[in-house]
Amino acid sequence: MEKYFDITYLWTTIPQLIPFLWITLLVAALGVLIGSLLGLLLAMFKLSKNKILRFIANTYITIMRCTPSIVLLFLVYYGIPAFSESFLGIYLQDVHTGVYVVITFSLQFAAMMAEVIRSAYLSVDKGQYEAAVSVGLTPFQAYQRIIFPQAFVIALPNFGNGVISVLQEGALAYTIGFIDIVGKANLIIANNYNTHAFEIYIALAVFYWVLSIAIEKFFGRLEKIFSKGQRSLKTS
């Protein structure tokens, strides 16, 4: 490692890292998308009257909460190919590592979202649904027009936190050889014979920091926009 800190080095590495920022963001976005759908399903399991479904959802959420991301990542990365090979006879050697990364973070995000969606749903007063049905809406319409918009606003801040944490957990994808921004940074460091590692790590930290703050601000803005509408509805 170098003995001094060379700030000018940052200006040459940041342009090299930026193209890989999109890969990081794409993986996070896919994780959020698939994870939200799975999370919705799990939330429905948790809210259902069926004991077995509730048990499945609760067990899944506990397991996800207790497993470090890196362990889950490797379990998926080694487990899925081994499983499909010996039980289904399908060889998955050529599957891109990105697929495993997306699967891992979808699984994790789903557990987070299940809790978020459940608590948001429960916080909407039951009378709202009854009122909607009593004025002649079908149950589906009641959910779509009355329950969902209200639960959505309540879920927004926690959803934002979930998105940030998926983005951050994504930094571990380099461990299975996925080349995102962290993977690229490690390649650059290796190419430089491990010099200037510190500057590159600082650059990475700044990237993530800025992204997290941007996401937080974005969700803050969204929340304001949506709760504004709610207030005007109440007064009118």
């Binding site: 490692m1 003995k3 800190f5 506990t62 397991i63 909460r65 207790c66 497993t67 470090p68 991301s69 890196i70 362990v71 889950l72 490797f74 379990l75 080694y78 487990g79 081994a82 499983f83 010996s86 039980f87 940030i164 951050q168 957990e169 994504g170 930094a171 571990l172 962290v182 590692a197 510190f198 790590y201 600082i202 990475l204 930290a205 993530y208 920091w209 800025v210 992204l211 997290s212 703050i213």
Partner: protein, 238 residues
């Protein structure tokens, strides 16, 4: 069919290898918590009382830790601490090889650095739930500031903070799995090294997974017991 999927013998042997990493993981967790609890509480007080410079410093510190992945924090701290130390050692002519420091020390520093910031937010939100009147009432009956905090504010605050403290502890235990980056001999690294011999990675990760499950569920259970004990006052007065 089963024999080709999982090597059972290795699975069982490695479970104990993984288990042997538990003391290190727990040691790091306990030390990091022991440092982070008072630091986090103190910094939360500076945020609540809006102490000029410290308040501003805490804000940036918390934002940084929450805004960057732990692995990046580990990378940054693991490369900056030796730089600082070698600078200090050179200045004071201490002849100690910086790169021979036990990774355990780095783990203590890194994970306390991370957890303290998380706890600032936990304590800040918990302190806000205790009403101002409690502190005023404590003063009015003649308690000093430290007495008021120790006997009135902290016991009430702890009850609300406990679920979040539990989450923070579990996240900390989970985060120690990243100790491989600083070659800390904990659960994940030990099992992984054992797997290197025969490429039995899947078995090794299943073992690691089971060990973390046991650890987390135990911690969750202990916190639940503690929470019940702490919130006793709520039921006796009601």
């Amino acid at each position: 069919m089963d024999s080709s999927f999982l090597n059972m013998e290795f699975l069982i042997d490695t479970f104990f290898v993984a288990l042997s990493g538990v003391p290190v993981a727990l040691l790091v967790t306990v030390v990091a918590m022991a440092i982070a609890l008072p630091v986090g509480f103190f910094l939360a007080l500076t945020r609540i009382n809006e102490i000029p410079v410290l308040n501003w410093f805490t804000k940036i510190y918390v934002s940084f830790v929450r805004g960057t992945p732990i692995i990046i924090q580990i990378f940054v701290l693991y490369s900056v601490i030796p730089l600082i130390l070698s600078g200090i050692f050179e200045k004071y002519h201490i002849d100690y090889p910086v790169y021979d420091i036990n990774p355990l020390w780095y783990a203590f520093i890194i994970f306390s650095f991370n957890t303290a910031a998380i706890l600032v937010e936990v304590f800040r939100s918990a302190l806000k739930t205790v009403s101002q009147g409690q502190l005023e009432a404590a003063y009015s009956v003649g308690l000093t500031s430290s007495q008021a905090y120790r006997r009135i504010i902290i016991p009430q605050m702890l009850v609300t903070a406990l679920p979040n403290l539990c989450t923070a502890t579990i996240n900390l235990i989970k985060a120690t799995s990243l100790g491989y980056a600083i070659s800390l001999q904990e659960i994940t690294l030990k099992a992984k090294v054992a797997a290197n011999v025969g490429y039995n990675y899947l078995e090794a990760y299943i073992d690691i997974f089971i060990v973390y499950m046991i650890l987390c569920m135990t911690v969750e259970y202990l916190f639940k017991l503690f929470e019940k004990r702490l919130s006793r006052y709520k039921y006796t007065t009601a």
